[in-house]
């Protein structure tokens, strides 16, 4: 699955990896806001911000091409709209959409690839996301692999028994098999949730998830948050002063 690579990157070692997730979230949100509200001199601002992100990627020792390619996942969607704008006689608008969404995606990757997702989700508690929702996200991420694998096994098992020979004319049986498989998968996910809950209770769970890594916000984190969030603002102010 394509997100495994992000997970491997996130377990790397660098000064960005070591920073508190909350510091990175602050920096990320500032960056996204800078991009989202920009409207003037984008032709200069976009390369500036891209350079900034590249510096961040280098600092985090992430593979540059890998990250750049991954951020391109947004291009198909954005591309359609860019084309639509082009046809509507607004090529500049199309390019703007492309640039903004690509930069935003790359920024998100920079943070997700330097912070293990569980820690990142914990960090989001500070932004006011309800704790319950975050715990749901943790479970979702943990069992995503397990259940996806079951789903794949099921469809492979069905394929192994003949649905692979494409029925162009009569999709009936394979359609029913897919519906049956989803029904079973649903019921199993439901039952598994009960098992997990039991296992948690058996180990003294009382509704609160405790952290093994106590996150102390150190001075280095504060400094990092300041620098990383001021940088895009500075780039934008400079560009707009000079060009605009």
């Amino acid at each position: 699955m394509r997100h495994v690579i992000l997970e491997r990157w996130s377990r790397g070692e660098s000064c960005v990896h070591r920073r508190d997730p909350r510091a990175k979230i602050v920096a990320l949100i500032t960056f996204l806001a800078v991009v989202a509200t920009a409207h003037r001199a984008l032709a200069w601002l976009a390369p500036g911000l891209l350079l900034l992100l590249l510096a961040g990627l280098v600092l985090a020792k992430l593979p540059l091409t890998g990250a750049l390619v991954r951020a391109a996942l947004v291009v198909p969607f954005t591309g359609v709209f860019a084309l639509i704008c082009w046809f509507a006689g607004e090529p500049a608008l199309g390019l703007r959409l492309l640039a903004k969404s690509y930069l935003s995606a790359l920024a998100v990757i920079w943070v997700v690839a330097t912070t293990p997702l569980p820690a990142l989700l914990n960090g989001f508690e500070m932004t006011g996301v309800p704790r319950f929702l975050l715990v749901v996200c943790q479970f979702l991420y943990r069992y995503l692999f397990v259940i996806s694998e079951e789903a794949q096994h099921m469809s492979k098992a069905a394929a192994a028994r003949g649905t692979a020979a494409r029925n162009w004319t009569a999709p009936g049986p394979s359609f029913r098999a897919a519906a049956g498989a989803l029904g079973v998968l649903f019921a199993r996910s439901y039952a598994r949730a009960g098992d997990i809950h039991r296992a948690m209770l058996a180990r003294g769970f009382d509704g609160r998830f405790l952290q093994l890594h106590s996150e102390n916000f150190r001075p280095a984190d504060t400094a990092f948050a300041l620098v990383a969030s001021l940088a895009p603002v500075a780039v934008r102010l400079t560009v707009e002063r000079v060009v605009g």
């Binding site: 003037r40 969607f77 979702l140 897919a178 998968l185 949730a193 509704g207």
Partner: protein
């Protein structure tokens, strides 16, 4: 073209990336989403115990996994489940909203599917309004002969409404689109919606055979008239919002001075938010009336 659009829309759900929405639109929708999600999360947690956290997480993982199972629909094409309506039928609307919100969050962070600042918009479209629009017909259809239709209608409606809202938000934000393209998009939404309806119906029926206790009870009484009115009203409202947000004069204003000093966006955002509130209120009001009637 329709096929191309469909593949680029990711099949069904339109996850808006960052950079597309104008500041007032994403800011307004984020502001709207935060208290709504908080409320929904509290509600989903209540009534059950801490068992809910693993359950909802696993249901989210299920929806992800469900997209790996392809449903052949003839002529070499296949579709897959989006799941908002199925979640609403099985977990109830509040819990379904929480699960959809979690899914959108993970998609934005890990899969670069939808933006982070645009998360509020995506949550409103899919996790809040989409779920509610899907649950409404299920509630109104009752357990009788309209049940199958209401399951189908709910699932379809959730897809159409979410798609229309997303597109309206894009239009309000100044993305230009000719009316003909808008028509094609609408057609794509309708096809996807019918697919979602058929798939959801098939899954619900297989679930009924395996373990019927997993489905939410639908009220024994049935009110087909109300069902049709509600479905039609929500459908019309969302298509209406879509076309209203494309009003050419407003677009003109917006693109000419798209700066924060321009007040064009105010009217635009106003129209959009009003439409959104209208649909949301409509779903909520119909739901309320029905449950009141029933409890008396």
């Amino acid at each position: 073209m329709a096929r191309f659009l469909k593949s680029c829309y990711g099949g069904k759900a339109v996850h808006i990336p960052d950079g597309f929405l104008s500041t007032p639109v994403w800011a307004a929708l984020d502001t709207a989403a935060v208290p709504a999600v908080a409320w929904v999360a509290r509600r989903a947690q209540r009534g059950f115990d801490d068992r809910q956290a693993p359950l909802l997480g696993l249901m989210g993982a299920f929806v992800f996994a469900a997209q790996l199972i392809n449903f052949p629909v003839g002529a070499g094409t296949s579709g897959h489940l989006v799941g908002a309506a199925l979640l609403a039928f099985t977990l109830g609307p509040a819990a379904a909203s929480v699960v959809m919100t979690a899914i959108l969050g993970i998609q934005a962070l890990v899969f670069q599917d939808g933006g982070l600042l645009a998360l509020g918009a995506n949550i409103v479209n899919m996790a809040l309004v989409g779920v509610l629009a899907g649950y409404l017909p299920y509630r109104l259809g009752g357990a009788g002969e309209w049940r199958r239709f209401s399951i189908f209608a709910g699932a379809s409606l959730s897809v159409v409404v979410a798609g229309c809202l997303a597109l309206s938000e894009l239009l309000i934000s100044g993305v230009r689109m000719q009316t003909s393209l808008l028509g094609i998009s609408l057609a794509v939404f309708l096809v996807s919606a019918i697919l979602e309806g058929v798939i959801t119906l098939a899954v619900v029926r297989s679930l009924e055979r395996i373990q019927p206790t997993l489905l939410q009870d639908s009220p024994p009484h049935k009110s087909p008239a109300l069902l049709f009115i509600a479905v039609a009203a929500v459908l019309l409202a969302s298509v209406g919002v879509l076309f209203a947000s494309q009003a050419p004069d407003a677009i003109e204003q917006l693109t000419e001075h798209a700066g924060p000093r321009s007040f064009g966006w105010l009217r635009q955002a106003g129209t959009g938010l009003a439409g959104l509130a209208l649909i949301y209120g409509l779903c909520l009001a119909i739901g309320r009336t029905v449950s009141r009637n029933r409890s008396v």
